[in-house]
Symmetry: C2
Subunit: 205 residues, 2 copies
């Protein structure tokens, strides 16, 4: 034990378990907590537990929400015929920040990874197929025209994209976001995989 | 709002208020919290509040402790005639890690800073003087031989050291830890202030 207070040591221990927080950062955070007003600390503690108690997956798109259906799925100003498939809720945040996308989303909850034993059944593939496939009981339901695959450009992402095409192609047009040189990057510093993709994806000027 | 869950947004907001945690880190932490078991999140939340409820200043040295008196002040294996004065509890942790110090401590709770309006009365100067000054009611009390000033080598630290000498010199021998080149450093990269101190503090080889 370093600190002569067990409570402080316990807090440091707990903070160390979080990603990107080492012992030094945990010590600095604990020292800050010691100086914070009790009401602020209480608010933080309550926010932590509230996330576990209140947050659930949207009935339709599986994005995080406090309600039954998320605000994006309820919105009448979005194009519900266009579905963008992402791995995590944080990807939705990134796409929304562009302000360029007006469709809805589907959050898989991860990527297919045979190495880690994660198959389509461990993700929300089934819910997505149900969304896309025509419902014989409800033939008038709004139809999804296109599914945009926006999974990460990694090995797992590629496997996931492959599965998505297999599952969805019978019902709907499936596209994938472009890969290539990031804007503002220097071509000479781009890695081989990115350059190869940029070449293969070349388009008429 | 970015996330379609108010609880997640609220947690990110709360985490952003902590030092060294920006919005990106807060998002990553919140995403991790969403995946943590509820019991682990509850433990973290409780550890946060427990720190505010249980931790207090040691009756003697003002270091953080859960009890009335800290373990260092209670220890019979430490030299209670030697007191090392530091600014914060984290400084005690740093000194204890060396394993080279066997005395006890006094935590000031900060440094004297006229610019920020922090004077000796805002810190634990009074408690330190009471510890060091002979008690007429208890002339047999263990006497403190030496006070080692280990405040930070900053402007505020220097001002604090000056005040400490003024307050304590009548009762006890007051020393300050050495300043100079850090071990392993390159002389040509040392800043002028450090080099000047290293020169002024030269000792016979």
């Amino acid at each position: 034990m370093y600190y002569s207070s067990e409570s402080v040591e316990e807090l440091i221990e707990q903070l160390c378990r979080l990603p990107t927080i080492g012992r030094k950062s945990a010590q600095r955070l604990a020292a800050h907590v010691l100086k914070m007003p009790r009401s602020d600390v209480k608010q933080l503690a309550e926010a932590l537990v509230a996330v576990k108690d209140r947050v659930r997956a949207c009935r339709i798109c599986k994005n995080v929400t406090d309600a039954d259906t998320c605000a994006l799925c309820l919105s009448t100003r979005r194009d519900h015929g266009l579905v963008c498939v992402v791995e995590e809720s944080s990807d939705v945040v990134a796409l929304e920040r562009t302000g360029e996308y007006n469709g809805v989303y589907h959050v898989l909850g991860g990527a297919v990874s045979p190495v880690d034993g994660i198959g389509p059944d461990d993700l929300t593939f089934g819910d997505l197929v149900n969304r896309v496939a025509p419902d014989p009981k409800n033939p008038e339901a709004p139809k999804i025209r296109e599914v945009i695959v926006a999974v990460n450009p990694t090995v797992e992402g590629d496997v996931t994209a492959h599965y998505l095409r297999e599952f969805l192609a019978p019902y709907v047009s499936v596209t994938r976001v472009a890969h290539g040189l990031p804007i503002g990057a220097d071509l000479s510093f781009a890695d081989e995989a990115t350059l190869a993709r940029a070449l293969a994806g070349r388009r008429p000027l």
